[in-house]
Each structure stands twice: as C-alpha cells, then as structure tokens.
C-alpha cells in the first residue's frame, strides 16, 4: 500500500512537477498590454508628429531641396539619395560632385543630431548664404542635363508659424535670379511637426 502510494506520488510529481503555469504569464501579459496601449495613446496625443515633405510631381524625377523657415532662421536639408547616380554618370566635374556629396552628408549628419531642436541650427537667410545655395542647385541641375540623367532639384519650403519673414527673404533672392530656373513648392507646417530626414 505504501509502495503504491509512493508510485502514485512519483507519478503525480512526474505529470505535474515540471509543468509551466501560464496564469502568471497571462496575467502579467494582459496588464502590460493594457499599460502599453494606454501609454501609446497618451504618446500619440502629445508627442510631435514626424513629417516628411515630398514634392507631388507627375514626372517623378524632381527631388526636393528642403528649406525650413522658422522664426529663428532657415534650416536647409539637401537631398543626397540620387547624387551617387549622377556622380557615376560619364561627364566632367566628378571631383566637385564628390566634394558636394561629402558636404551634404556632413550637413545631414549634423542635422540628424538636432532634429528635436531645429531652432538651434537655424541660420539667418542673408543673401550671402542664400545665393550660393541656389547656385549649387543650379549647378546640380545643369550637370544632370549635361549627363542626360533624369534628375532635377527644386526648392521645397516648409514654413512654420512666424517663419514667413524668413521665407520672403529667401524668395526675394530667388526672384532676383530667374535665370536659375529653380522650381518652388511650399507647405505650411504646424508648430509641433518635426522633420523626418528619410528620402523617398
């Protein structure tokens, strides 16, 4: 009888001893799901949205050179994604293109560190700062035409509230140089919209 009890007990231990109880996991799982969902809701409501500006162009080859207009000044976001394709196409001035690409990469890297505080990297839109930027875009566009690459940069203004005066200063420089033939797009941005550096 005692042996039978021992066998039964051993069998009971065998069948029940190593089972994993799911109850603690499920209870914690549901609690955490509820808390995370709540946190997500709160986060969505109060956190700034990221915004990626892209030009709505039928041709599909125009690429935006973004200029964000803040009350503190302008922040430039040069495109980079398709420049290697331009640089690899046969044609002169390859060295200049490489240098330009390196400058733009450095600019974007610096900007990536300051996405949460763009005002800290905003610069005054003086003519001496704006005109070289326009000439750079013009040079890229000319090089693309010479190398028969379907690529053209245009300026895309993202205008934050109270950034209108910055926009007008830059636009005045553009209007003084119609020979550059640079296209323009513009969009009003909300105060809590933050830039996304992802390129299409």
């Amino acid at each position: 009888m005692r042996a039978m009890h021992r066998r039964r007990y051993a069998l009971l231990l065998e069948t029940t001893g190593n089972e994993v109880s799911l109850f603690p996991f499920l209870s914690i799982f549901l609690c955490v799901m509820g808390v995370l969902s709540f946190l997500n809701l709160i986060n969505s409501a109060i956190a700034p949205s990221k915004v990626m500006l892209v030009g709505d162009v039928a041709q599909g080859y125009k690429t935006a050179y973004q200029i964000l207009c803040l009350p503190e000044g302008m922040v430039t976001v040069p495109p980079l994604k398709r420049l290697p394709e331009l640089q690899q196409a046969p044609g002169g001035q390859a060295g200049e293109l490489v240098q330009l690409m390196q400058q733009r990469q450095a600019q974007r890297t610096k900007l990536a560190e300051k996405l949460e505080n763009l005002a800290s990297v905003a610069t005054e839109p003086e003519d001496e700062a704006v005109l070289p930027l326009l000439q750079e875009i013009d040079k890229i566009n000319r090089l693309a035409r010479e190398r028969k690459i379907l690529y053209e940069e245009f300026i895309l203004f993202g205008i934050y509230p109270d950034g209108g005066s910055v926009y007008h200063k830059i636009r005045a420089v553009l209007l003084k140089h119609p020979e550059l033939g640079i296209g323009v797009g513009m969009e009003p941005l909300n105060t809590n919209w933050r830039l996304s550096l992802a390129e299409e």
């Binding site: 231990l13 001893g17 190593n18 089972e19 994993v20 109880s21 603690p24 996991f25 914690i28 799982f29 955490v32 799901m33 995370l36 997500n40 986060n43 969505s44 956190a47 949205s49 990221k50 915004v51 990626m52 500006l53 892209v54 030009g55 709505d56 162009v57 125009k62 935006a64 009350p71 245009f154 895309l156 205008i159 934050y160 509230p161 109270d162 950034g163 209108g164 005066s165 926009y167 007008h168 005045a172 209007l175 003084k176 119609p178 296209g183 323009v184 797009g185 513009m186 969009e187 009003p188 909300n190 105060t191 809590n192 996304s196 992802a198």
Partner: protein, 210 residues
C-alpha cells in the same frame, strides 16, 4: 525522497520577460512607423487661369471681391485720399488699403469680425461655401494670403488650419490653389503698374483633384 529542482518560477519569469519584450518591441515599431506622415507638396506652375484672392487670418477667411476692393481703392486714389504711406478704408470687411512705392497696393485687415469663420466649412450652403462654389474651375484658381503669425507656445493664431481645410475643399471640387505667408512686414499686396516678377508672383501650386 530526492528533492527535485523546481524550475516553475524561473520558467514563469523568463517567459514573462521574453513575451513582454517582444510585445514592447512590436508596439514600438508599429508606433514609430505610423507616426511619420508624408506630406505631398506640389510645385508652382504656370497657368492661364485668373486668380481669385483670399486673405486668411486666425480661423477666418475673406474673399477679395474685385469690384468692391480694387474699385474702392481706385476711387479713393482718384479722390486724393490714397497718398503714399497713408492708409484708407476700403469699405469692405474691415479692410484698409495703402499705396506703397514698391509694393504698390497693400491690404491690411483691421480685424476679422465680419469674415467667414472656419465653422462655415462644415455648414452646407454657408456663405463661405457659396463663395467657393461660385469660382469657375475652368477659368480661375484660388490664391491665399495666409497670416502665419502665431502664439509661439500654442501655435494658435495662424491661418494655417483654415487655409488647409479650404484648400482641401477646393481640391475636391476641381480648383487649383496657391498661397503665400503674410504678416505685418510682408502684407498682402498687388501690383497694377509693375510687371516685375518680384511684385506680381501669384502662381498656383496645388493641382486640383482628379
């Protein structure tokens, strides 16, 4: 009897931790990917259409009826009430005019008391919607002067919200639109006697809906 090592607690804790981390990672990825909005911004382009001008300030909008605004201005000028730098009442929607040496004809709103409110966009057959519907999409496009001055902390005060909604309505109804930000230093202005691009640059940038 031999004491077996009980791994129940360890297994529970490990499975809880792994499960929570997986859930957290999935939620984070879903949350981050959903929070980047792509805003399509059209380009300015040439058009044969004529502009219909609007001014947008705070959550209000006013249509600049050419017969009322421009003719009133010319009448004031003929009467000698529109000397350079002096403001005069346009007798329309609390707007004032000013002749400027380079900007030519400037419009400044005194206030938006009689303007159309943003709520009219939600009311069928409201005066604002009647005005927007009266535009001829075959011959006209809408051009907005949007005041961008806002409370820097709350973002309130700029005309952006009103402009976006009006633009969206027009796009649904087949009308192109363009805009520029304006403020006290860069007010809405028109050049009647100057063809320079610096002055007359009202181009549509948003194409109409298909």
């Amino acid at each position: 009897m031999k004491q077996l090592l009980n791994v129940n607690s360890l297994t529970d804790i490990v499975s809880n931790s792994v499960g929570i981390l997986i859930i957290f990672a999935v939620l984070n990825i879903a949350h981050e990917s959903g929070k980047t909005h792509q805003v399509d911004v059209p380009l300015e382009h040439e058009t044969e259409h004529l502009p219909a001008f609007f001014i947008v300030k705070d959550d209000a909008i006013v249509y600049l009826e050419p017969e009322r605004v421009f003719f009133n201005a010319m009448a004031q000028a003929r009467q000698g009430n529109a000397d350079a730098g002096e403001t005069f009442d346009l007798g329309y929607m609390r707007l004032q005019g000013e002749m400027h040496p380079t900007l030519e004809f400037i419009i400044r709103p005194k206030d938006t008391v009689h303007w159309h409110d943003i709520s009219e966009l939600d009311e069928p057959d409201s005066p604002l919607l009647q005005t927007l519907d009266s535009l001829d999409k075959e011959k006209q496009y809408a051009y907005f002067f949007v005041y961008d001055e806002a409370d820097l902390e709350t973002g309130a005060g700029s005309g952006y919200a009103m402009f976006r909604r009006t633009r969206a309505y027009l796009k649904e109804h087949g009308l192109q639109s363009g805009w520029r930000p304006v403020d006290a230093d860069n007010p809405p202005h028109f050049c009647f006697w100057d063809d320079e691009a610096v002055c007359n640059n009202y181009a549509p940038s948003y194409r109409a809906g298909e």
